[in-house]
């Protein structure tokens, strides 16, 4: 199970983590009458990492607590995320935590969610 700053926030339900592509910022200049381009390398920029899954709990209150526990990390600071494979994502800023479904009730209470992180290089 994945952990955010060694905290077990997401183990109640299945989830997947999809890292985006690293991006390099480039400044491109071109001049009339001259073939080619002038490319200025401005350096590596952040990438987006998306985590989506289910949060499950026995009661609606417990589920709300689990959601609040994740929202604590919307603090603008960098955190370390370790996924289910054991891969470590460092310098992660939690940008958004969004429940993407209403709280549903079937076998307990559950909802779908998406976390969007920004990983600094």
């Amino acid at each position: 199970m994945s952990r955010l700053d060694a905290q077990d926030l997401f183990s109640s339900g299945p989830h997947t983590i999809k890292p985006g592509a690293w991006q390099r910022s480039l400044e491109r200049r071109s001049f009339p009458g001259i073939n080619g381009e002038l490319v200025l390398d401005l350096g590596l920029r952040a990438r987006t990492v998306t985590q989506s899954g289910w949060l499950q709990a026995a009661s609606a209150e417990e589920l709300a607590e689990k959601m609040s526990a994740v929202e604590v990390y919307l603090d603008g600071r960098t955190h370390t995320l370790v996924d289910s494979h054991g891969l470590i994502y460092q310098k992660m800023i939690l940008e958004a935590f969004e429940p993407t479904s209403p709280i549903r009730r079937s076998r307990g209470f559950w909802c779908e969610y998406t976390c969007r992180y920004l990983q600094l290089p």
């Binding site: 199970m1 994945s2 339900g13 299945p14 989830h15 997947t16 289910w54 996924d83 289910s84 079937s106």
Partner: protein, 231 residues
């Protein structure tokens, strides 16, 4: 060995033996066949099928009898070991009385009697949603969508069925009798909404009306389906 040998012994019929394969072959159409080297062969003329008997037969039969005796002895030993254990562990099976419901006595949708009911099917279904996370081959969580309780009633009384309007909501009550002449059973589906009405005419058979209902729970928590034994 010979797959006909036991039969030969019991029935006393004679077969030819192929010396190379040492297998017994039925004597049909084997007239003039090869005989085993060194074997003493008697032939009977006058029979339609050629028949051979080999002196080795007796020896083979005796050997087989000895083997069978040994096997029987072994089996007896096994039985003597197992049977007492079975006796001690065996418990008397509890007597169960199971009612068989074989006759639909009546079906009614609100105040409308659904005459000549043929069959009733009650379904409780929920769509399953399974999900798994990274590094998981199989689904680790299964949740269910909101369950629906549906009923399908087939009746011969098509006139009564045609008088119903789609979207009508009432209580569906079905009375079923048991085969043993017991008290029977009453099935109730509260808040049944008529969602489908099909009338099927067939060549040389009575027409059938198929009514489909979906139950609607008023408070979202009470199960609209109830079934109880009559008293």
């Amino acid at each position: 060995m010979c797959r006909f040998l036991s039969r030969c012994v019991r029935q006393g019929s004679a077969h030819a033996i192929n010396d190379k394969s040492a297998k017994c072959i039925k004597s049909r159409d084997r007239k003039g066949a090869d005989t085993p080297a060194g074997g003493y062969v008697k032939t009977w003329a006058g029979n339609r099928r050629a028949q051979f008997q080999i002196c080795n037969f007796k020896l083979q039969i005796e050997k087989q009898k000895k083997k069978k005796k040994k096997k029987k002895k072994k089996k007896k030993k096994k039985h003597t070991g197992k049977m007492p254990m079975l006796r001690t562990t065996a418990t008397a099976a509890p007597e169960k009385t199971m009612e068989r419901y074989t006759h639909i006595e009546s079906a009614a949708f609100g105040e409308t009697v659904l005459p000549l009911p043929m069959s009733v099917r009650l379904s409780r279904r929920a769509e399953a949603m399974a999900a798994g996370g990274d590094n998981e081959i199989f689904a680790t969580a299964v949740q269910l969508a909101r369950p629906t309780i549906t009923a399908e009633v087939r009746i011969r009384g098509i006139a009564a069925a045609e008088g119903l309007a789609l979207g009508a909501q009432a209580t569906l009550v079905i009375a079923i009798a048991s085969a043993s002449g017991g008290a029977g059973r009453t099935i109730t589906l509260d808040g049944a909404v008529l969602t489908s009405l099909d009338v099927e005419y067939e060549q040389r058979s009575p027409a059938t009306a198929i009514l489909k209902f979906v139950a609607q729970a008023d408070d979202g928590a009470t199960d609209p389906f109830t079934s109880e034994e009559n008293q």
